[in-house]
Symmetry: C2
DNA sequence: TATATACGAAACTCTAAAGTTCCGGATATC
DNA sequence: GATATCCGGAACTTTAGAGTTTCGTATATA
């Protein structure tokens, strides 16, 4: 019997699509998104930045929302690796290990992208889900693991509200970038860890 | 000598502009803003909701950005009254007095309006300033007064980071509404006050 | 080598919304 | 009562951007 590719019968002739361009277009999408926001972004801007034609973009993604959604979802790849979390023996040490300069820059960049998408998450549930998956879950999950460890070690108060504590960092960072439009510095993160999170968790200095 | 109104020589003939419509149009603007966001909002939507014609809107505001800016700035009127802050004798009492149901509803409503404006604050500095003046400053200033009082009473640790503590509430609320899209309940605020803010401030339960 | 598709670039269509003008009717001044 | 401006409503012009098509060229299969 011959091959029966009923679904998606791939053509055998013609030039193949260059899928290395996909990543470049998605990256250009994120850049433009961070600079102008979703509504300010045009497909022509994205194509120009990726040195591609509009047709090349539309050959891969059927519409602007799907392109943006794909680009945002792709950011999850650069999230914190839950299997390689720091384990310094103290909660403070673990938290400090998570605020290295590259991590902070990345967080700020992600949030600037999110600035242009915030208005969409109210209009389109898929954007809301993508946002949470990329921006909230990775960081909160990482924090949760660190706090549980600290709890097991008896380092923090047993009646600490871990679920809320995990959100303090992300919330303060998001507020600072989205609303206050200020940079996320190491000093800022330190003041949150030492001034808010650790005291609230019941860690003695 | 006759009157010398060189600036703005008001016409003396014709029907007077009905300035009671101003407030209605601004209110309609905020409603549409909360529902569809800045870019989704059209002047026709606003005019329709205010039972006015587009011309009536454009007679008062020269452009869409100026209308929205004016509407947002007007929200400051419903901010917390710094001269009538609660003074219950304890920090916890004061904070609880600030999270009555009507206040929470108002905060949530303001934040939903802000959702549609967030993308603009990166594009237009005036929007950033208006947002801070309406959404951040009033609440943070109120908190600062309450925390200073508590500090003067010796109720909280003298080395508490008051500036950061004042932002925890607003940041957590903004994060919950803008990013998580969840309602601001009294339980949520209680968990922040009792689980984060008071412990971080060094108040013993 | 013929064919089919990809590429970048640009021309093109279509639609939606910003902003303007005009209408008939109302309300004010002189 | 003549005139000027307001009102809501609707027609109108202009512009910008989403999405499509076309063109000359490059690259793959058969």
């Amino acid at each position: 019997m011959t091959q029966s590719k009923l679904v998606d019968p791939k053509p055998k002739l013609g030039r193949k699509r260059d899928h290395t361009r996909d990543a470049e277009i998605l990256e250009a999408t994120l850049d433009v998104l961070a600079e102008t926001g979703y509504d300010g972004m045009t497909i022509e801007m994205v194509a120009a930045r990726a040195r591609a034609g509009k047709a090349t973009v539309y050959r891969r993604w059927p519409s602007k929302p799907e392109l943006v959604l794909d680009a945002v979802a792709g950011m999850k790849a650069t999230a914190v690796d839950l299997d390689a979390l720091p384990d310094t023996g103290t909660l403070r040490g673990d938290l400090l290990a998570l605020i290295k300069a590259p991590t902070l820059r990345e967080s700020e960049h992600k949030l600037k992208i999110m600035t242009g998408i915030i208005s969409m998450i109210a209009r389109n549930p898929e954007f809301a889900a993508a946002t949470r998956a990329v921006l909230v879950e990775p960081r909160v999950s990482a924090n949760r693991i660190l706090f549980r460890r600290a709890l097991d070690r008896g380092e923090i108060s047993p009646d600490a509200d871990i679920d809320r504590l995990c959100m303090v960092g992300p919330a303060m960072v998001a507020f600072r970038v989205l609303v206050l439009q200020q940079p996320v510095t190491r000093e800022f993160m330190l003041s949150i860890i030492d001034g808010i999170v650790l005291p609230a968790a019941g860690v003695r200095p």
